[in-house]
Assembly symmetry: C2
Homo-oligomer: 109 residues x 2
DNA sequence: AATTTTCATCGTATATCGACGATAAACGAT
DNA sequence: ATCGTTTATCGTCGATATACGATGAAAATT
Protein backbone atom coordinates (compact mmCIF):
# COMPACT_ATOMS: atom_id res chain seq x y z
CA UNK A 1 0.00 0.00 0.00
CA UNK A 2 1.42 3.29 -1.03
CA UNK A 3 1.76 5.71 1.79
CA UNK A 4 -0.03 8.42 -0.11
CA UNK A 5 -2.97 6.18 -0.87
CA UNK A 6 -4.59 6.76 2.48
CA UNK A 7 -3.80 10.43 2.56
CA UNK A 8 -6.65 12.73 1.77
CA UNK A 9 -6.39 15.16 -1.05
CA UNK A 10 -4.01 17.66 0.33
CA UNK A 11 -3.31 20.34 -2.21
CA UNK A 12 -3.19 22.79 0.64
CA UNK A 13 -5.20 25.89 1.28
CA UNK A 14 -8.52 24.23 1.72
CA UNK A 15 -7.25 21.10 3.37
CA UNK A 16 -5.57 22.87 6.24
CA UNK A 17 -8.61 25.01 6.85
CA UNK A 18 -10.96 22.07 6.90
CA UNK A 19 -8.80 20.01 9.20
CA UNK A 20 -8.53 23.02 11.47
CA UNK A 21 -12.30 23.41 11.60
CA UNK A 22 -12.82 19.79 12.54
CA UNK A 23 -10.14 19.84 15.18
CA UNK A 24 -11.62 23.05 16.56
CA UNK A 25 -14.93 21.29 16.98
CA UNK A 26 -13.10 18.66 19.02
CA UNK A 27 -11.11 21.11 21.07
CA UNK A 28 -13.55 21.76 23.86
CA UNK A 29 -13.97 19.55 26.92
CA UNK A 30 -17.75 19.80 26.83
CA UNK A 31 -17.89 18.67 23.24
CA UNK A 32 -15.51 15.80 23.87
CA UNK A 33 -17.69 14.77 26.77
CA UNK A 34 -20.77 15.03 24.59
CA UNK A 35 -19.20 12.82 21.96
CA UNK A 36 -18.17 10.32 24.59
CA UNK A 37 -21.71 10.21 25.84
CA UNK A 38 -23.14 9.87 22.36
CA UNK A 39 -20.72 7.04 21.71
CA UNK A 40 -22.08 5.16 24.69
CA UNK A 41 -25.74 5.86 24.06
CA UNK A 42 -25.55 5.72 20.29
CA UNK A 43 -28.30 8.33 20.11
CA UNK A 44 -29.46 11.00 22.51
CA UNK A 45 -31.86 13.87 22.63
CA UNK A 46 -30.66 17.23 23.81
CA UNK A 47 -32.21 16.89 27.24
CA UNK A 48 -30.32 13.72 28.03
CA UNK A 49 -27.06 15.46 27.31
CA UNK A 50 -28.08 18.44 29.37
CA UNK A 51 -28.80 16.11 32.27
CA UNK A 52 -25.16 15.10 32.44
CA UNK A 53 -23.19 18.17 31.59
CA UNK A 54 -23.85 20.77 34.25
CA UNK A 55 -24.37 23.33 31.53
CA UNK A 56 -27.44 25.29 30.57
CA UNK A 57 -29.69 23.82 27.93
CA UNK A 58 -28.97 26.63 25.54
CA UNK A 59 -25.25 26.08 25.90
CA UNK A 60 -25.54 22.37 25.22
CA UNK A 61 -27.68 23.12 22.20
CA UNK A 62 -24.94 25.39 20.90
CA UNK A 63 -22.28 22.74 21.36
CA UNK A 64 -24.43 20.18 19.60
CA UNK A 65 -24.90 22.58 16.74
CA UNK A 66 -21.17 23.03 16.43
CA UNK A 67 -20.63 19.29 16.38
CA UNK A 68 -23.30 18.86 13.73
CA UNK A 69 -21.96 21.61 11.54
CA UNK A 70 -18.50 20.07 11.80
CA UNK A 71 -20.00 16.84 10.56
CA UNK A 72 -19.14 14.81 13.63
CA UNK A 73 -22.71 14.34 14.81
CA UNK A 74 -25.86 13.63 12.88
CA UNK A 75 -29.16 15.25 13.62
CA UNK A 76 -32.65 13.87 13.15
CA UNK A 77 -35.91 15.38 14.28
CA UNK A 78 -38.03 12.93 16.22
CA UNK A 79 -41.35 14.38 17.26
CA UNK A 80 -40.67 17.13 19.69
CA UNK A 81 -37.28 15.66 20.45
CA UNK A 82 -34.06 16.02 18.53
CA UNK A 83 -32.03 12.90 18.14
CA UNK A 84 -28.30 13.34 17.99
CA UNK A 85 -26.06 10.49 16.99
CA UNK A 86 -22.32 10.31 16.73
CA UNK A 87 -21.00 9.93 13.20
CA UNK A 88 -18.35 7.31 13.78
CA UNK A 89 -16.97 7.26 10.24
CA UNK A 90 -16.55 11.01 10.30
CA UNK A 91 -14.82 10.88 13.66
CA UNK A 92 -12.55 8.14 12.43
CA UNK A 93 -11.83 10.20 9.34
CA UNK A 94 -10.67 13.15 11.39
CA UNK A 95 -8.51 10.91 13.53
CA UNK A 96 -6.99 9.37 10.43
CA UNK A 97 -6.39 12.73 8.87
CA UNK A 98 -4.53 13.84 11.95
CA UNK A 99 -2.61 10.58 12.12
CA UNK A 100 -1.60 11.01 8.53
CA UNK A 101 -0.47 14.52 9.21
CA UNK A 102 1.34 13.45 12.35
CA UNK A 103 3.36 10.76 10.72
CA UNK A 104 4.34 13.25 8.04
CA UNK A 105 3.00 10.82 5.48
CA UNK A 106 1.69 13.68 3.43
CA UNK A 107 5.00 15.40 2.91
CA UNK A 108 4.96 14.89 -0.80
CA UNK A 109 1.31 14.76 -1.73
CA UNK B 1 -2.84 -6.75 23.08
CA UNK B 2 -5.56 -5.51 25.29
CA UNK B 3 -7.46 -2.64 23.82
CA UNK B 4 -7.11 -0.56 26.96
CA UNK B 5 -3.36 -1.02 27.04
CA UNK B 6 -2.69 1.75 24.58
CA UNK B 7 -5.31 4.05 25.98
CA UNK B 8 -4.03 6.87 28.07
CA UNK B 9 -5.20 7.30 31.60
CA UNK B 10 -8.67 8.55 31.12
CA UNK B 11 -10.35 9.09 34.44
CA UNK B 12 -12.11 12.03 32.88
CA UNK B 13 -12.17 15.66 33.79
CA UNK B 14 -8.53 16.36 33.35
CA UNK B 15 -8.05 14.06 30.40
CA UNK B 16 -10.71 15.72 28.31
CA UNK B 17 -9.33 19.13 29.12
CA UNK B 18 -5.83 18.17 28.14
CA UNK B 19 -6.84 16.57 24.89
CA UNK B 20 -8.90 19.65 24.14
CA UNK B 21 -5.93 21.92 24.76
CA UNK B 22 -3.70 19.97 22.40
CA UNK B 23 -6.30 19.81 19.70
CA UNK B 24 -6.89 23.53 20.10
CA UNK B 25 -3.23 24.15 19.35
CA UNK B 26 -3.72 22.18 16.15
CA UNK B 27 -6.95 23.86 15.17
CA UNK B 28 -5.61 26.83 13.26
CA UNK B 29 -4.59 26.74 9.61
CA UNK B 30 -1.50 28.83 10.20
CA UNK B 31 -0.27 26.50 12.91
CA UNK B 32 -0.95 23.44 10.79
CA UNK B 33 0.99 25.06 8.00
CA UNK B 34 3.82 25.88 10.38
CA UNK B 35 3.97 22.28 11.55
CA UNK B 36 3.95 21.07 7.98
CA UNK B 37 6.84 23.33 7.19
CA UNK B 38 8.75 22.29 10.29
CA UNK B 39 8.20 18.66 9.33
CA UNK B 40 9.86 19.26 5.99
CA UNK B 41 12.72 21.36 7.23
CA UNK B 42 13.21 19.52 10.49
CA UNK B 43 14.27 22.78 12.10
CA UNK B 44 13.57 26.39 11.29
CA UNK B 45 14.15 29.81 12.69
CA UNK B 46 11.26 32.21 13.01
CA UNK B 47 12.23 34.24 9.99
CA UNK B 48 12.10 31.25 7.68
CA UNK B 49 8.55 30.57 8.75
CA UNK B 50 7.61 34.21 8.34
CA UNK B 51 8.95 34.08 4.81
CA UNK B 52 6.32 31.55 3.84
CA UNK B 53 3.23 32.43 5.78
CA UNK B 54 2.06 35.84 4.65
CA UNK B 55 1.65 36.85 8.27
CA UNK B 56 3.46 39.45 10.29
CA UNK B 57 6.54 38.37 12.18
CA UNK B 58 4.89 39.05 15.51
CA UNK B 59 1.92 36.90 14.58
CA UNK B 60 4.11 34.01 13.55
CA UNK B 61 6.04 34.35 16.76
CA UNK B 62 2.79 34.07 18.69
CA UNK B 63 1.74 30.94 16.82
CA UNK B 64 5.12 29.37 17.45
CA UNK B 65 4.78 30.15 21.11
CA UNK B 66 1.39 28.46 21.21
CA UNK B 67 2.81 25.37 19.53
CA UNK B 68 5.72 25.28 21.96
CA UNK B 69 3.52 25.69 25.01
CA UNK B 70 1.30 22.90 23.72
CA UNK B 71 4.37 20.70 23.55
CA UNK B 72 4.19 20.10 19.83
CA UNK B 73 7.29 22.09 18.95
CA UNK B 74 10.63 22.35 20.67
CA UNK B 75 12.53 25.58 21.06
CA UNK B 76 16.25 26.15 21.21
CA UNK B 77 18.12 29.43 21.20
CA UNK B 78 20.85 29.52 18.60
CA UNK B 79 22.82 32.73 18.65
CA UNK B 80 20.52 35.47 17.61
CA UNK B 81 18.21 32.96 15.97
CA UNK B 82 15.55 30.80 17.51
CA UNK B 83 15.46 27.26 16.27
CA UNK B 84 12.08 25.60 16.24
CA UNK B 85 11.75 21.90 15.64
CA UNK B 86 8.70 19.73 15.41
CA UNK B 87 8.29 17.24 18.23
CA UNK B 88 7.26 14.19 16.27
CA UNK B 89 6.62 11.92 19.24
CA UNK B 90 4.37 14.51 20.82
CA UNK B 91 2.48 15.00 17.60
CA UNK B 92 2.10 11.27 17.21
CA UNK B 93 0.88 11.07 20.80
CA UNK B 94 -1.90 13.55 20.14
CA UNK B 95 -2.89 11.72 17.01
CA UNK B 96 -2.97 8.44 18.89
CA UNK B 97 -4.99 9.95 21.67
CA UNK B 98 -7.55 11.15 19.18
CA UNK B 99 -7.52 7.82 17.37
CA UNK B 100 -8.14 6.06 20.64
CA UNK B 101 -10.99 8.36 21.39
CA UNK B 102 -12.39 8.01 17.90
CA UNK B 103 -12.46 4.27 17.91
CA UNK B 104 -14.24 4.42 21.26
CA UNK B 105 -11.58 2.21 22.67
CA UNK B 106 -11.69 4.08 25.92
CA UNK B 107 -15.34 3.47 26.65
CA UNK B 108 -14.64 1.47 29.75
CA UNK B 109 -11.37 2.81 31.06
C1' DA C 1 30.66 52.03 19.84
C1' DA C 2 27.37 51.97 16.44
C1' DT C 3 24.59 49.34 13.29
C1' DT C 4 22.09 45.57 11.62
C1' DT C 5 19.69 41.44 12.15
C1' DT C 6 16.63 38.51 14.52
C1' DC C 7 13.23 37.62 17.52
C1' DA C 8 9.97 38.34 21.57
C1' DT C 9 6.88 41.19 23.83
C1' DC C 10 3.66 45.07 24.46
C1' DG C 11 -0.28 47.53 23.36
C1' DT C 12 -4.25 47.72 20.69
C1' DA C 13 -8.15 46.65 17.71
C1' DT C 14 -11.38 43.40 16.18
C1' DA C 15 -13.61 39.02 15.97
C1' DT C 16 -15.00 34.89 17.82
C1' DC C 17 -16.05 31.83 21.76
C1' DG C 18 -18.57 30.21 25.63
C1' DA C 19 -21.76 30.95 28.89
C1' DC C 20 -26.29 32.40 30.48
C1' DG C 21 -31.31 33.78 30.75
C1' DA C 22 -35.20 34.85 28.13
C1' DT C 23 -37.97 33.91 24.49
C1' DA C 24 -39.91 31.59 20.47
C1' DA C 25 -41.28 27.56 17.98
C1' DA C 26 -42.83 22.91 17.49
C1' DC C 27 -45.00 19.06 19.26
C1' DG C 28 -47.86 16.01 22.27
C1' DA C 29 -51.28 15.68 25.67
C1' DT C 30 -55.36 17.26 27.98
C1' DA D 1 -57.77 25.74 22.46
C1' DT D 2 -54.63 25.36 26.14
C1' DC D 3 -50.89 23.67 28.61
C1' DG D 4 -46.52 21.43 29.43
C1' DT D 5 -42.33 19.66 27.34
C1' DT D 6 -38.54 20.00 24.45
C1' DT D 7 -35.47 22.35 21.73
C1' DA D 8 -33.51 26.27 19.00
C1' DT D 9 -32.48 30.93 18.72
C1' DC D 10 -31.68 35.73 20.35
C1' DG D 11 -29.34 39.12 22.96
C1' DT D 12 -25.82 39.94 26.00
C1' DC D 13 -21.68 39.59 28.70
C1' DG D 14 -16.91 38.68 29.70
C1' DA D 15 -13.00 36.22 28.16
C1' DT D 16 -10.06 34.60 24.72
C1' DA D 17 -8.07 34.49 20.03
C1' DT D 18 -6.01 36.61 16.16
C1' DA D 19 -3.94 40.05 13.84
C1' DC D 20 -0.95 44.15 13.44
C1' DG D 21 2.66 47.83 14.25
C1' DA D 22 5.86 49.54 17.45
C1' DT D 23 9.21 48.81 20.66
C1' DG D 24 12.79 46.35 23.21
C1' DA D 25 16.52 43.00 23.85
C1' DA D 26 20.21 40.09 22.40
C1' DA D 27 23.63 38.66 19.25
C1' DA D 28 26.46 39.32 15.17
C1' DT D 29 28.72 42.70 12.21
C1' DT D 30 31.01 46.79 10.96
Amino acid sequence: MKISSHCADNRKGLADTELAVRLAALSHPARIEILRHLARADSCCCGEVVGRLDLAQSTVSQHLKILVSAGLVRFKADGQRSRYAIDRPALRAVAEELACFASACCVDC
